[in-house]
Assembly symmetry: C2
Homo-oligomer: 296 residues x 2
């Protein structure tokens, strides 16, 4: 089966033709501009790739959000209240399905990545997996026993209002909340606060401790609400792997010894891990979603 997969992000659309099991035959990276230009370029890539590799059987979309995932809603498959200019209320599923003329299914980028990590990545052995992306946006997807549960809404834990770190010199950049987690700790917020991205800052710069604290708070909130037994942290910011030990320590701090199973450092090291998929988990998840032909 040849699946057209799209990981639709706020900065780029990653398109792939292939399958989760066999990997990508071909991929393209498209800058996210306005919907018309972006969707036309993605459609063009898939038509060209299909001419080289054979006809497309289905389309799977892993999208930035919020996405309306309620099949009973008139806005099903639409992006809804995103801060991304021009993308509010765009019928992403319908437009791409019409353009390619194949069965199509959509989920959030983080739900897709959670699905991929649970089935083919770092989630093996876990029953409740939370996938967190930290990049242009911050998002959380949850997989239960290797599947995404759809009951109307989906997690939007990037927009939690956590406690502000006292050493953080930035008011926050979320157009909805100001200093929610995404407003304080996404890629643009790091640059706005410190004038540089983490990889450009020395290891003893306070930016590292601030970032680790916010993400440790997030992990603690997830433990206290969703009760995951694996938290996979991915996205551009998390390629700075030195964040992991500090995030695990801050998770322990915010849990305060209360949740017995994560009171030890070893347990937190097994809980909070980097992605394990062979390709980007959002893209792998888009293949899985397309192949399942999920038409929720």
């Amino acid at each position: 089966m040849r699946i057209a997969a799209i990981e639709a992000g706020g900065t780029k659309f990653v398109c792939g033709l292939g399958s989760a099991e066999g990997g990508s035959l071909e991929t393209a990276r498209i800058d996210t501009r306005d919907p018309d230009k972006t969707l036309a370029e993605a459609t063009g890539f898939f038509r060209d790739a299909a001419a080289r590799h054979g006809a497309i059987d289905a389309l799977g979309i892993a999208s930035f959000g919020p996405v309306d995932l309620d099949p009973a809603s008139p806005a099903y498959g639409h992006i809804t209240t995103t801060p991304k200019p021009g993308w509010q209320n765009v019928d992403l599923l319908g437009r791409l399905r019409s353009a390619l003329g194949v069965p199509a299914a959509i989920d959030t980028d983080v739900n897709a990545a959670a699905l991929a990590e649970a089935r083919m990545g770092a989630g093996q052995g876990a029953r409740t997996l939370a996938y967190v992306t930290v990049g242009t946006g911050i998002g959380v997807g949850v997989a239960l026993d290797g599947a995404i549960r759809h009951a109307g809404g989906h997690a939007e834990a990037g927009h939690l209002s956590l406690r502000r770190h006292p050493d953080h010199p930035y008011a926050g950049g979320c157009p909805y909340h100001g200093d929610c987690l995404e407003g304080l700790a996404n890629g643009p917020a790091i640059k706005a606060a410190w004038g540089a991205s983490l990889d450009e800052l020395p290891a003893d710069h306070p930016a590292w401790a601030v970032q680790a604290d916010y993400l440790g708070q997030l992990c603690a909130v997830l433990v206290l609400t969703v009760a995951p037994d694996r938290i996979v942290l991915g996205g551009g910011v998390m390629t700075q792997t030195r964040l992991f030990p500090a995030i695990r320590e801050r998770t322990g701090h915010w849990l305060g010894g209360y949740v017995a199973r994560y009171a030890g450092a070893d347990a937190r090291a097994a809980l909070i891990v980097p992605p394990g998929c062979a390709e980007a988990p959002g893209l792998v998840g888009a293949y899985l979603i397309g192949a399942a032909g999920i038409s929720r």
Copy 2:
């Protein structure tokens, strides 16, 4: 079927003989003292009640927590790290099962209440129900499609570190976290902050706005993580029903219009509701748990 049901709380044990469908034939309220005295009094009540009404078929326990609910754990059925003096590491399930000599099952008080509200109370039509108790403790249980999911851990959302309200003159009383939600907003914290419980304070006292803000933050966190379509708020503090409109308003404030389906006041009024069970939802849930003979 005659079920022995216990809603085991930090202040009192409510014991009932009966069933979820038929209601309680007889109930007793036992003050929570040390484990030996409390469990002996509960066992005595059930023996006397069984002499009047007939033999007990099973026992269901809805307990304060944290409870170890992992059947593979040596501490299965034990209370673990509770702040309640004398109750750490008590084998609640094993001791009561031995004393009564019947099949027994246990879950958290809030999981039990979530189960009861989802099946027989205010959760009708909801797929993802969060039950919150606000009393001596603050706890959250989640029911998915009318069942409790057990995958090792359970929610402990009473111990979230939320943003402090600027008008709140109290450092917080949680022995683990100081000013987590439970430390700031449980029944004892209200008395410690204001010298009185809410029912003793006038409607324009700042305590009401502070309490509503914390519980509104909790509801917002739940929407952003668990994505419930019904949140039932119960427990002693929530008998002050004038909190409901204020909590719904503060939930909207903290969501900041981002989650489209709860941007309207009507949607939040349908989301955040009081309990609907005929008896205390924790006790009804204990009947359900006992009857199911769940031996996780």
